[in-house]
Amino acid sequence: MMKPFPEVPMLSYDVVVIGGGPAGMASAIKAKELGLKVLLLDENDYLGGILPQCIHPGFGIHYFKEELTGPEFASRLAKRLVELGVEYRTSARVLEIRNYSDLEKFVLFTSPAGIYGVWAKAIIYAAGARERHAFEIGIVGDRVSGIYTAGEAQTLMDIYGVLPGKGIVIVGSGDVGLIMARRFSLEGAKVKAVIELMPYPGGLARNVMILRDFNIPLYLSHKVVEVRGKGRVERVKVVKVDKNLKEIPGSEFWIEADTLVISAGLVPAVKKLKKIGVEIDPATAGPVVNDRLETSVPGIFVAGNSLVINDLVDYVAEQGELAAEGAKEFIENSGTESRKWIKVERGENVRLVVPHYLSGERDVYLYLRVLKPMEDVELRIPEIGKRLKLLVVKPAEMIRLKLKAEEIRNAEKLTVEVTGA
């Protein structure tokens, strides 16, 4: 075999899992259970990904059939991983992925024990997502202390024990923003406002309740446009937007605050996959995949928030398992069989849907999000005559739809649409 870096020690596995969060751990566990030789790499000092800092409950209702906190969910998976003897390395950051051929993948990683190269037949990429930051959403003004992404504020509070501030404005009413609104309130800080660009809240219904519980004002159809302060945030400028999200002149007002928390959405962290030519779906910003969560590069699988931004960790773990099953089949068959794929397309009021291609040979879960909230609607796939009545749909809540192999087997393509009943 080639030696891309002659001086670097080489390891060899059936499958390398990149990322030790819920998707990666579930995936490594499944791969091991299926008899594969697996190595899990995670860049943090501990396994669990983002879960160890999510100290609130609400995790695991589907996957473990009970309600857990983030650290509990992570430790259950970690325990299982250790019991099975899955090999893993923490503080291990992947520097490069190379795809030499279908069954020759190469991963270069660094760790306190040194830099290693790993040969693998398949890669499961579960490196999560990153948060959008203040510059990306066009906030101008002073570049001062007191501006944090929600995840960074959460890390400071619940990993490092630091309280960022006491007068808080939160940008975005997604789950992370709402959870941080509660977290700050519980520690005695005053959450002065949650500012949401859209005309509806962005989080799960159970998290939107937080605003009522703690008496926090929610400004829908508003945006934060400017921060001012010397050294530290002193005030933020808010402006109302119209139906087309355009700022309404004269609607500006200032809120005094020492802290601005940005919860403006997550972006799959897939730069390393793009570099090796993995096709990206602009709708999800994650890879285009088939029903085994295999990307356009054969033998590279993806799961969790690197695939699509999920709102439930349970689905993330489920995707991890699915990717492991895919890797197992891929290795057994020495590649992906060529076949005619059934393409899944976005129809009316569907913002995103994964997977993108179905084999028709197995049951599959479609994960989808709508474009706008609606009531009394029908989810339809006209090609197979599928119709499902839904009372409420919201962009914040991912819809998971099971399709049976026999339903889809003879379809050419599937168009998923959500329309008034």
């Binding site: 760790s111 930051h133 002073d142 202390s145 006491k166």
Partner: protein, 496 residues
């Protein structure tokens, strides 16, 4: 008896002067800076260019015209001696209209007068060969191969490290409150940290040089701030190979499109004159940034979507009365040398300014400078994990595992890099731990995620190395602490 020299301001000018003066045995050099670290004023936020010297009219701005080209030549040597990140990729001053050619001809002529080598006008295939992504509206350009780019704050840091290694004493977080003058001679500098005796005072205080001069009774110039705003994009966005300028106007060199030394597409600046009292107004504005965007699009039509923006920022240029650099040993106050109004091309000119000042000390003050026999011109850059081939990195990791551990994932900055940076901060006397001090030395927090993953970890490392609580670590000096206390501080009612 050594001559005591106080240099006020540790920006690119003050740092260059301190370095040049550090080679003389009979000088005791004190570098005084009010910020917690060096290079945080005007030097921090600019276009980071080493200009070609064709732009400064020798009739109107003789000092600029003389020092720019000289500075350019000196930087070619200094970046090597001091291991400063740089690229010599040349500039194209682009003509979009027929009339622009007249201006290019004038620039070419002026450049020749100023002694700029290898300039010429390029057109057609050659132009697009030099810059394939350039707008197809371009009809020609002035090609200036000697133009380059450096990392400006790392340059200041390198200069100060070298100066300190050669005996210069730094006084950070030291604000000058007065200048003591007796019988027409300078005696020293009054600061918040006490009196610093000096026989020679060099005023390199950037935006505040007029205020410092007034403290010595010199009041013939004013500095007003001119704001410039910039956009910077993620490193997977294609940028130009050359530095692209529009054809200049009388006011400014125009909005530049460039790939800065770290590989990020950068556009800017605009030019907005602020009143003299707004010397700390570094706020970006929507209108300003949109103007920059429109300006840059004229040269570089394929600007990426806004989701690829990783940062917007603003800097201030110190515009002096008259427009030319004010570099002068003042006759009425013996020992007081002004290095004021160092606007563009100040970064380029800095090494030449420093030699000019050394010459003034000899010529105008009559102090004969005696060279040290053991002056060390070299300074080693800190380790950057991302620059090491894996084999080399492994040797380092074997000696110290911290080099194998990545803290900043976007730019592959290791814990070892960061610990080295903290050591260097202490070496030059940085007393207040700041994330920005680590950022400018390592590039941590400057990538796609802008530090949301690694900033808490850097805070933790700074807290440990400086022996302070993590919430007392600052972003950029006192008043910008990362937190207000431990997580239970408010509930206990003992909030900081």
């Amino acid at each position: 008896m050594k001559t005591k020299v106080a240099v006020i301001g540790a920006g690119i000018s003050g740092a260059s002067i301190a370095r040049v003066l550090s080679r003389y045995e009979n000088l005791e050099v004190h570098l005084i800076e009010k910020a917690p670290d060096v290079g945080w004023g005007v030097s921090k936020a600019n276009t980071a260019l080493i200009h070609g010297g064709y732009d400064d009219d020798p009739d109107k701005y003789p000092t600029r015209a003389k020092l720019c080209i000289r500075g350019n030549r000196l930087w070619h040597r200094w970046v090597k001696e001091l291991q400063i990140a740089h690229v010599w990729n040349g500039a194209l001053i682009v003509a979009l209209k027929d009339e622009d050619f007249d201006e290019l001809e004038r620039l070419l002529e002026r450049g020749r007068r100023n002694g700029v080598p290898e300039m010429r006008i390029v057109e057609g295939d050659e132009l697009f060969h030099l810059e394939p992504g350039l707008t197809r509206e371009a009809i020609g350009a002035l090609w200036v191969p000697i133009v380059g780019q450096i990392a400006p704050i790392p340059a200041v840091i390198a200069l100060v490290e070298n100066a300190v290694a050669n005996g210069v004493k730094t006084h950070l977080e030291t604000e000058v409150r007065g200048i003591k003058v007796e019988n027409g001679e300078v005696k020293g500098v009054k600061t918040n940290n006490g009196f610093i005796e000096a026989d020679v005072i060099i005023n390199a205080a950037g935006l505040y040089a007029d205020e410092i001069a007034r403290m010595a009774g010199i009041d013939y110039f004013e500095i007003h701030p001119r704001k410039g705003e910039y956009w910077i994009f993620d490193d997977d966005v294609p940028g130009p190979r050359r530095v692209l300028f529009p054809t200049p106007t009388p006011v400014s060199k125009g909005i530049v499109v460039t790939t800065e030394v770290s590989g990020h597409l950068m556009i800017g600046p605009n030019a907005q004159d602020l009143p003299p009292e707004e010397k700390d107004n570094l706020a970006t504005t929507k209108e300003g940034l949109e103007g920059v965007w429109e300006g840059a699009k004229k040269l570089w039509p394929q600007l990426p979507p806004r989701s690829k923006v990783i940062r917007t920022f603003a800097g201030l240029r110190p515009e002096p009365t008259g427009g030319d650099f004010i570099i002068k040993a003042e006759e009425e106050v013996w020992g007081f040398i002004n290095v004021a109004g160092i606007r563009s091309p100040g970064l380029t000119s800095a090494p030449a300014i420093a030699y000019e000042v050394a010459e003034m000390i000899q010529r105008d003050l009559g102090i004969k400078l005696v060279a040290k026999s053991n002056w060390n011109p070299y300074r080693r850059e800190i380790t950057h994990f991302f620059m090491l081939p894996p084999e080399k990195a492994n040797e380092l990791v074997k000696k110290n595992p911290a080099y194998g551990k990545i803290v900043c994932r976007c730019n592959s900055v290791s814990e070892g890099d960061i610990l080295e940076a903290i050591e260097r901060m202490k070496f030059i006397g940085v007393k207040t731990p700041s994330v920005d001090s680590v950022k400018f030395r390592t590039k941590a927090t400057t990538g796609t995620c802008q530090g949301s993953f690694c900033r808490p970890r850097i805070v933790q490392l700074l807290a440990k190395e400086y022996g302070v609580e993590p919430w007392k670590v600052t972003l950029k000096g006192r008043g910008s602490e990362i937190g207000i206390g431990d997580v239970k501080a408010l509930l206990r009612g003992d909030e900081a």
